[in-house]
Amino acid sequence: EAGVAQSPRYKIIEKRQSVAFWCNPISGHATLYWYQQILGQGPKLLIQFQNNGVVDDSQLPKDRFSAERLKGVDSTLKIQPAKLEDSAVYLCASSVLMTSGTSTDTQYFGPGTRLTVL
């Protein structure tokens, strides 16, 4: 079974530039998550999708961050414009959506995209 795919693996940009990250979840996983992991900290949830709908984006800085999952499969996370404090690893994860409508407990993570903002 293929895992969660992310690209690019590394990105270096200057502040005020824009950047986009791509994620392809495990086939059949309806729930998709984007996390931000700052160096030395645990991952922090940015946004959660079920199929192509947003379930939780309460921690997404909506003035500069946006995410979409148009066809309920792949997802893109964008930052525009980037700030120095956005330097972090951006992790995508997916999980199975139960027939009850809730996601299973275990999340499967991709390798992440390491963003450096200069």
Partner: protein
Amino acid sequence: SQQGEEDPQALSIQEGENATMNCSYKTSINNLQWYRQNSGRGLVHLILIRSNEREKHSGRLRVTLDTSKKSSSLLITASRAADTASYFCATGWMDSSYKLIFGSGTRLLVRP
């Protein structure tokens, strides 16, 4: 703020020794999970313990959960150099949807 806090922040042991990491959290949970993160890689799920369970084993891993103290521990027995990684506890709970809140992690170094 993050739900779980791990202790210690860093741990260095000799190969073959046991490693114990602790996690404390603040609110009620449905379950608690432990994840491992190797340098430069994503997180890998290790084990999940539900709120009505007290202890769980998986290979060389042993997890305990004390909901009265809002704490959990992860024991890795007979450690190997390959166990060198960061270990995170994550508390799972239901709000409008199922959420995982990660702690700050314990960095484990296993010396050959």
